[in-house]
Amino acid sequence: MALTGIEIYKFLPKTNCKKCGFPTCLAFAMKVAQKTVNITTCPDLSAESRAALEAAGRPPIQLVTLGSDSKKLEVGNETVMFRHEKTFFHPPGLVLRVKDNAPADSLQQQVQAAAEYKVERVGRFLTMDGFAVENTSKDAATFAKAVEAVKSKSDLPLVLISQDPAAMEAALAKATPGRPLIYAANKDNWEKMADLAVKNKCPLAVSSNGALDDLTALVDQVSKKGIEEIVLDPGARDFGPSLSTLTQIRRLALKKNFRPLGYPVITFPGEAAASLDTEAMLAAQQVAKYAGIIVLDHFSPALVYPLLTMRLNIYTDPQKPIQVTPQIVQIGTPKATSPVCITTNFSLTYFAIAGELEAAGWAAWLVVCDTEGLSVLTAWAAGKFDAEKIAKSVKNFKIADNVSHRNVVIPGHVAVLRGELEEELPDWKILVGPREAVDVGGFLKQNWKN
């Protein structure tokens, strides 16, 4: 969290010696807070004060990075309890758990399917983020082999699940470099796990089933070993405990600046769920309510597509709708006789109509009007998609230069605009399209003479 000038001042020598080039320590502190000079410009700052300052300037929830640079997963570093206060920054990683004692080919198949999965939504490709390999066999060699097998099918970040430091060491030998998350240090094994994390420069998960006191004590211990990137497992599994405990941890970190719990949290929705759908519902709750890494026990497109959509929704900046650039977009290879369609620059709207035109096999000119990222009806209701504005887009984008006809299709939801639009665009014939984009293919087939 950025410190204020006054907070920085407290750590300075307060001698006003001017060696930094500022008249007083306070003046210097103010400049440091504005980031116009670096704290190291003060030659008299003690090493302790500097360390304390850095600690105080750390974000209240530590950023934790898994994986290699090319395929990394960053979680944590959230700054608010509610997305409307600012935004949520680092979407929780969705990782799939696989078991080391699964037959090799089945394990590889599972990994391949999830690793290759991608689904397009509003022009973005949504994907899974990694794999959690579990040492179900309790055997070190089997664990190491499974990690190798997973890595042969995917370069996504890994979580290594074992309580046994020897097995963990064997697996780490296969998984590093690549910064897997070590899961987990508990009250019995923490010292060895912490040593492994230090040696392999990996983030470490800390797990405790008891009260937050126990978790805090454990985090303190592993922190003293010099580990900065920690992930918390408070043991809360089901809907109720997950919501309460994760809320408490987030509040302690953000509101009380409580360091020992200022880390992202890992959850296991499958462990409390009797069905696949319940697992997905609990995971969806955890997307909204404060998980950093979500370990799923099942993967199928129908399960993860809604979940990924939930994550996209919750992690969209509430101040700024996802939008596209206003312009003429060519769908397919349109000709001078191809249809001209009007839409808005809200991504959801644009991709709905663009996608349906493509799916129906129509080449077309799509005029994307600037509605500041609002949907058809919202923009209309807000006065940002009226006849005048549509006419302006049609003229400014010079669509008339591209086509030999003078017909333009407007969305069915704004049929009321037809009359005014005819006045604004006297050369054009205004066709009212269907309300829903799915029906645009059928509509054009009936009404468009190529």
């Binding site: 919501l243 408490q248 302690l252 909204a288 919750i314």
Partner: protein, 314 residues
């Protein structure tokens, strides 16, 4: 080192609203909490959120295959449908008088009276009656419904800024609860509550419908407007304190993800599971944002959402 659990001190609380509880109808109370959704370590949550099942007064047009399959024959008969809904565990029924829509039958007050009477006779659960979403017809059929259910504390909606006088007055006269709907905006929601209060309708006779955006189709907006409304209420603003109702089923089953049987990317997965999960996840998101009544369509969603509510409330 004992960790002190941070607890917010809220000054306000959500109004408690009673549906039914008279004229032979079961009583259902929602609201009353003085903390954020399900945070029992912090405050008092006297009533868990309720699950309503949507029933339509004529066989619905264009409903997705999984819904048609799940309900089967009862889609032809609103009373039988409501009964079935009760068997599936509904806490209340949300009856949509769709046939009154000018383009979908244009039935009038007489028909509304018959359908509402039949549904009221078929179940002893509390009932919400919704119009066809055309202001003038809404007034006609809702006033009729209001008379039929006089004294049974129904919910009546949608009560909009356009027709709040008529609906508000009817609720006041016949002892019903207004479903006050505004388009995803905190100030508009508050404003409508103020207008209804000025009419004399008490705040414990209002449920706010903040307008649901389905998963992938505006959920992020509804979610945050609800969180803001709830926080404002807990901070002591009475005019944002009525409980909230969300039409999760209606919105999520309208979307392509729920309807499309073919011609969609493989990455969307199998339709039935995807469609039902779309509704379930929309619902779980809105419950976490503060929904007190969640209106659903698919029986399997009802089952899982009720189980989740129970776990969150345990």
């Amino acid at each position: 080192m004992p960790v002190e659990i941070p607890v917010e001190k809220w000054n306000g609380q959500v109004h408690q609203v009673k549906l039914g509880g008279a004229g032979g109808r079961k009583e259902l109370v929602v609201g009353g909490e003085n903390t954020l959704p399900f945070l029992k370590f912090e405050g008092n949550i006297p009533h868990r959120p309720a699950v309503a099942i949507e029933v339509v007064d004529q066989p619905p047009q264009g409903w997705a295959e999984p819904l048609v399959k799940a309900w089967g024959n009862v889609l032809q008969d609103p009373a039988a449908w409501a009964k079935k809904a009760a068997e599936y565990g509904a806490d209340l029924i949300s009856l949509r008088l769709r046939s009154a829509h000018p383009e979908e039958g244009n039935t009038g007050a007489d028909h509304a009276r018959k359908v509402v009477a039949a549904v009221l006779a078929a179940v002893d659960l509390p009932v919400i009656v919704l119009g066809p979403e055309v202001a003038q017809k809404d007034n006609e059929v809702l006033v009729a419904a209001s008379e039929v259910g006089r004294g049974q504390r129904l919910g009546l909606g949608d009560c909009l800024d356009k027709n709040y006088r008529t609906i508000g007055a009817t609720c006041l006269a016949d002892g019903h609860v207004a479903i006050a709907k505004t388009p995803i905006d905190m100030n508009l929601a508050k404003q409508l509550n103020i207008l209804l209060s000025d009419l004399g309708l008490p705040l414990d006779a209002i449920l706010m419908d903040p307008t649901t955006g389905a998963l992938g189709y505006g959920l992020e907006y509804t979610y945050s407007v609800m969180e803001r409304l709830r926080i404002t209420a807990l901070m002591g603003d009475k005019m944002t304190s009525p409980p909230m109702i969300c039409t999760a089923g209606e919105e999520s089953w309208r979307q392509k993800e729920s309807k499309a049987t073919a011609g969609v990317p493989q990455s969307w997965g199998e339709q039935e599971q995807r469609a039902i999960l779309w509704e379930k996840i929309t619902a779980i998101g809105l419950l976490n944002a503060g929904a007190n009544v969640i209106v659903l369509r698919h029986p399997r969603t009802v089952e899982d959402v009720k189980a989740a509510i129970n776990k969150l409330s345990a």
